[in-house]
């Protein structure tokens, strides 16, 4: 499936901003299930310095600064990607038991395996805890095939937790999400990752978009989409497999990947430091447009 994604972030400040320094993780990366066709950033006011680099995790990160006074600042990322459908549906009840996966992760020194090991460790926003481990255990009974266990975990999160954008902010700790059973896609991804890591498995955070379809008979509204997040689990010899606990599905060709990392903090879409500005109002609009097969 071919898509064009337009993602605009606008800040309006009450006071003048003298200078701003920013990093945007908005340009999609290429990966086995996705080819990047074109991507660019439009920045207003026009930036004074701009450079894109590949970060530690292989994501495309744009650095830019604005060194002239302004009251409003906006960044629009426009990208076109081709997403390939997933290979035929896997049989989750086959494959290696999760304990074997853990053992291989600990011992095997192959480059892929070594790279995956960093995603077993605690990360800035996700620390393994007894609570996470005990929530995970119901899915991870001895000898259960890895994918079956992960699939079960995803389903449980979907059923046990309520999607509630009012409840959490970026600063809400995982323990509160777990206690109150509420959150948004980012929280559910973090939660699943924490559960997997608590079992000694490698899991990473994926940021991107999902194509939403309008109710039957209605036109799709421009800008009504949102950025999205899900998680990915490592399977030795096979690589990474995505799961979307917010929608209770294994991503196929409607998920567009932008970046991945240990958690949200590694792939924050837009961060920055400003001088001046005082208060601000933030508006975000995302539009995922299907261009063709």
């Amino acid at each position: 499936m071919r898509y064009r994604v337009t993602h605009t972030t606008t800040y309006e400040y009450t006071d003048q901003v003298g200078a701003s320094y920013n990093e945007a993780c908005l340009l999609p990366r290429s990966c086995p299930q996705q080819a990047l066709l074109a991507a660019r950033l439009e920045i207003s006011p026009v930036e004074t310095d701009f450079r894109v680099r590949e970060d530690f995790f292989g994501n495309q990160v744009a650095y830019f600064s604005i060194n002239k006074p302004h009251h409003e600042f906006s960044v629009t990322a426009i990208s076109e990607v081709q997403v390939y459908p997933a290979p035929t549906q896997l049989n989750f009840s086959q494959g290696m038991a999760w304990e074997n996966v853990r053992e291989i992760l600990e011992e095997n020194m192959s480059p892929q395996n070594l790279d995956a090991r960093q995603y077993v460790l605690d990360s800035p926003l996700i620390s393994a805890s007894n609570e996470l481990s005990s929530y995970a255990r119901d899915s991870f009974y001895p000898g259960r095939p890895l994918l079956e266990a992960v699939h079960d975990l995803m389903q449980r999160i979907f059923h046990d937790f309520t999607f509630d954008p009012e409840f959490t902010t970026l600063a809400t700790p995982l323990s509160e999400v777990l206690e109150h059973r509420r959150g948004v896609c980012q929280d559910f991804a973090h939660l699943a990752i924490g559960c997997l890591r608590s079992q000694g498995l490698a899991a990473r955070y994926v940021s991107g978009y999902i194509e939403t379809l309008p109710p039957p008979g209605e036109e799709k509204m421009v800008g009504a989409d949102a950025s999205h997040a899900w998680f990915s689990v490592f399977i030795p010899e096979q690589g990474w497999m995505d799961f979307d606990p917010t929608n209770n599905q294994v991503p196929n060709d409607q998920h567009i990947t932008v970046a991945w990392g240990r958690d949200y903090s590694d792939v924050t879409p837009l961060k920055g430091v400003i001088f001046g500005g005082k208060d601000h109002e933030l508006s975000v609009s995302v539009d995922v447009q299907r261009l063709g097969e």
Binding site: Y21, Y63, L114, R117, K271, I274
Partner: protein, 845 residues
């Protein structure tokens, strides 16, 4: 055991302590050969003399403002540096071995650093476990692939050494982030060689100067090869940092500007210093800010100590930072057990310096060992946070041991266990004579283009009490100089031509950071404010206590006017202007004491002095040592006055006299020994501005309303006295005190350095000299303001000023002074906004 059975005086006796090894005495109690010269000389000196030299060193360090700030210390910041004048001696023979070991270790750590932010071969080959490195908060993923243009990434390295059970010096820990102590070591050397000059000359100890030349050479080396004469700055977290003294000391010793994060800005892919003359490109940063705090964009977002965008500039190779961001990853004690294998891998050599045995709990066997032997191991976290200290298993109770076992088991990858090294002792000068105290030695290395160089000496710290050495992250405790005893005599700066070539490459005309100009301007203003306040206070106190005439209404009116002048001069409103002030005016002591001593009260004399010292300290690197000594005296004066709470007012006159002398010494030094550079310019602008504002305030308070002639006569006398113009007035006018002569002298006499016109003329000259970015010919705001003030005061008609209207007011005097007051205040604001632009704090988007 006595030193020499026949010669030793009882007061210099020294015996072996409980430690297995003493640096001076061998196990049979004989003085080791490299200590004999020193000990003979000390015996000659005698213990009383040694103690007096000890005091002298202490005084010297205090006067030079050598401090070590301890967070949360009840003594507040600026704790004086503690120095034991008796150095630690190391024989040249042993040193050669240590030096070789340190050189190898610096090379090795450098290779590890380059690898961890490069190809990470060590992890791929399982020479370092991924979990040990990736779990360490000092491994900064944002710094991946960021490199200095030279082969050595680790520019500065320091190691803490202590003597292990095999009697060799062992490495206890490595410092690779922003190692401190080299400046203190130099200052210690300066103090010891001054108080024990003969001893030092006879000792044949290696000199330290060359090492600091190597720092300059090393920093020049890492600058981008595109730069002809690199501009180098020292980046400090600021005056509240524990080692701020060292930052300012190194900056002035090495000839670099001392800057804080806000003094720098990133533009167009480069780092710039906000200086008085505009933005100046910076090539190299000697960093004393921890790496996490250096860039709020990519590292800790709420840091106010860094420069947003700095890391991106480093990534492009447009700024070289020493040590590079991310180098704290090497301060992971869990790396220690893997070093021997890495040394074989990288260097094909065994590790030369022994290290305390260390077990990383991230491995099962090691974890089991640590848990089983916890009671005689040292427990450390792999990442040392500020304020963390090591845990000694032997000092823990059963319950505590169980708690620690649980903590380690829950997160084994985050902990190490380390063999408890017992340390050696060395003689320490105490009030009871010489005493064996445990010691820890910090050694320093710097990278030059052809290899590392080790400082031939170091910073020795000795335990303040008998018994174990407290190992904390902070460097408190007592320090010692460290002498490496050479076989032949040492001469200062053996290689002068080499030093010359080093200096010629670095940029010498250092721009004044605008923050420094700001501080120095306020030093000028507060010094003058303090002087004006104390002079007026003293004159008033004199009037109150010498020949008081409580029944004389003229005297009373004069006193009241002086008291009100104090309120308006210091701005301690409402003070003597409060409603219903009769009682206050009759009993002014409490209010006067408060205006003098209450540091919390904005405008009080103590407050001005505190602000003066604070601004002076923040610009510490710009003062000569003599000027600093005067500042130190001011601080002492201040602290003493804070101690006696029940002082009566009249008793303060002596202190006031002393304070005036000290403040005059400060202005004298500034006039006589400060180069007429931009710094001096701003200091004098501050001073002239403040003096002008004070003169106007006093004259308006005293003479805007016409008083009875006898009252005005008394007032004139007191005010002449307060402004140090009495003699001058008598010589010039030889007459009674009358207002017209008074105004002529204090307002309009261009030759009188205390007149208003004199201040305004100087301001006009100074303001024209302020460097400007704009080359256009138009006048700056500051120039326009001084031009108006200058014209106005020149056109003043004295008779006009003296006119009294029907309601008893001198309206002309009041109006004209009020306009001048406005102009000078506006000038102060204009200078602040135009020139002190280090500006607002960054905040996350």
């Amino acid at each position: 055991m006595k030193l020499h059975s026949t010669h030793t005086r009882p007061d210099l006796s020294y015996g072996l302590g409980e430690s297995a090894y003493d640096e001076m005495l061998d196990s049979s109690g004989q003085v080791r050969p490299h200590w004999t010269t020193l000990m003979h000389a000390l015996e000659e000196l005698g213990s009383a003399e040694l103690e007096s030299r000890h005091q002298e060193a202490h005084k010297l360090l205090r006067e030079n403002g050598v401090t070590y700030n301890v967070y949360g210390d009840p003594d507040g910041v600026n704790r004086p540096w503690q120095l034991d004048p008796l150095p630690l001696l190391i024989s040249g023979e042993e040193w050669r071995e240590m030096e070789t070991g340190l050189l190898q270790r610096a090379e090795l750590l450098n290779l590890i650093l380059a690898d961890l932010y490069g190809s990470r071969e060590l992890i791929k080959k399982n020479l370092l476990p991924l979990e040990l490195i990736y779990n360490h908060a000092g491994f900064l993923r944002a710094c991946d692939q960021v490199k200095l243009p030279t082969s050595r990434q680790l520019v500065f390295y320091a190691a803490d050494l202590a003597r292990g059970p095999d009697q060799k010096m062992w490495v206890i820990s490595d410092r690779t982030q922003a190692p401190s102590g080299a400046g203190y070591a130099l200052e210690n050397r300066m103090a010891v060689s001054r108080v024990l000059p003969q001893l030092f000359r006879d000792s044949q100890a290696y000199r330290l100067e060359r090492f600091f030349q190597s720092i300059q050479a090393g920093l020049n080396t890492i600058a981008s090869p595109r730069t002809e004469a690199p501009r180098i700055v020292v980046l400090t977290p600021g005056p509240f940092n524990e080692t701020f003294f060292e930052h300012s000391y190194l900056a002035s010793f090495l000839g670099y500007s001392l800057v804080q994060g806000n003094d720098l800005t990133v533009r167009d892919g480069y780092v710039w210093l906000k200086s008085l003359t505009g933005l100046q490109r910076i090539d190299v940063i000697l960093r004393r800010v921890d790496d996490n705090y250096c860039d709020p964009l990519e590292l800790l977002e709420d840091s106010c100590l860094g420069v947003p965008g700095l890391l991106e500039v480093a990534r492009r190779g447009n700024i070289s930072i020493a040590n590079p961001l991310g180098s704290g990853v090497l301060e992971n004690p869990g790396i220690q057990p893997f070093l021997p294998a890495i040394a074989r891998h990288f260097l094909g050599q065994p590790l030369k310096l022994p290290t305390a045995a260390t077990w990383w709990c991230g491995q099962q066997k090691e974890l089991d060992y640590v848990l089983a032997n916890l009671d005689n191991l040292v427990i450390k976290s792999i990442y040392r946070r500020p304020g963390d200290s090591s845990i000694f298993g032997s000092q823990l109770s059963k319950n505590e041991l169980a708690e620690w076992r649980a903590r380690i088991r829950a997160n084994p990858k985050m902990y190490i266990g380390q063999e408890h090294v017992t340390f050696s002792t060395a003689p320490s000068v105490t009030s009871q004579g010489l005493d064996p105290r445990k010691i820890l030695l910090r050694c320093f290395a710097v990278a030059r283009h052809n290899g590392y160089e080790i400082m031939p000496g170091g910073l020795t710290r000795s335990a303040p009490e008998k018994g174990d050495m407290p190992i904390t992250g902070q460097m408190g405790s007592i320090s010692k100089d460290t002498w490496i005893i050479a076989a032949e005599p040492q001469y200062a700066t053996a290689n002068a031509s080499q030093a010359q070539s080093v200096l010629s490459r670095s940029h010498h005309s250092n721009a004044l950071p605008s923050r420094a100009a700001d501080n120095i301007f306020w030093v000028g203003r507060y010094a003058e404010r303090a002087e004006g306040s104390v002079r007026l206070l003293r004159a008033t106190v004199k009037k109150l206590y010498i020949n008081p005439e409580p029944d004389n209404s003229n005297y009373q009116a004069c006193i009241h006017n002086l008291l009100r002048s104090i309120t308006s001069l210091t701005g301690t409103w409402p003070g003597f202007f409060a409603e219903d002030t009769d009682a206050l005016l009759r009993q002014p002591e409490t209010e006067l004491l408060s205006v003098t001593l209450d540091e919390e009260r904005v405008g009080s004399l103590a407050h001005s002095l505190r602000r003066l010292v604070k601004a002076g300290y923040a610009a510490r690197d710009l003062w000569s040592s003599d000027t600093w000594r005067v500042m130190d005296e001011l601080e002492n004066n201040l602290m003493q006055s804070q101690e006696d709470h029940d002082t009566a007012l009249w008793q303060l006159q002596g202190n006031m006299d002393m304070l005036i002398t000290t403040l005059s010494a400060l202005s004298g030094l500034v006039m006589e020994s400060m180069t007429r550079n931009d710094g001096w310019l701003f200091l004098d602008i501050g001073r002239r501005l403040e003096r002008g504002l004070q003169l106007i305030t006093i004259m308006r308070t005293a003479f805007s309303v016409k008083h009875e002639d006898p009252v005005e006569t008394q007032l004139i006398e007191s005010l002449l006295n307060a402004s140090d113009n009495l003699i001058c007035y008598r010589q010039q006018y030889r007459s009674y005190f009358e207002l017209s002569s008074f105004l002529e002298l204090l307002l309009l006499d261009e030759n009188n350095p205390r007149s208003l016109i004199y201040q305004i003329m100087r301001l006009q000259e100074h303001v024209a000299k302020i460097p400007s970015e704009n080359s256009d010919q138009r006048l700056s705001t500051a120039q326009r303001l001084t031009l108006e003030a200058g014209t106005m005061i020149r056109l003043v008609n004295l008779n006009n000023l003296l006119e009294v209207s029907e309601d008893g007011m001198r309206e002309h005097l009041d109006q004209q002074l009020s306009r001048l007051y406005y102009l000078l205040s506006a000038l102060s604001d204009a200078i602040s906004t135009e020139h002190f632009r280090h500006g607002s704090a960054p905040q996350p988007l």
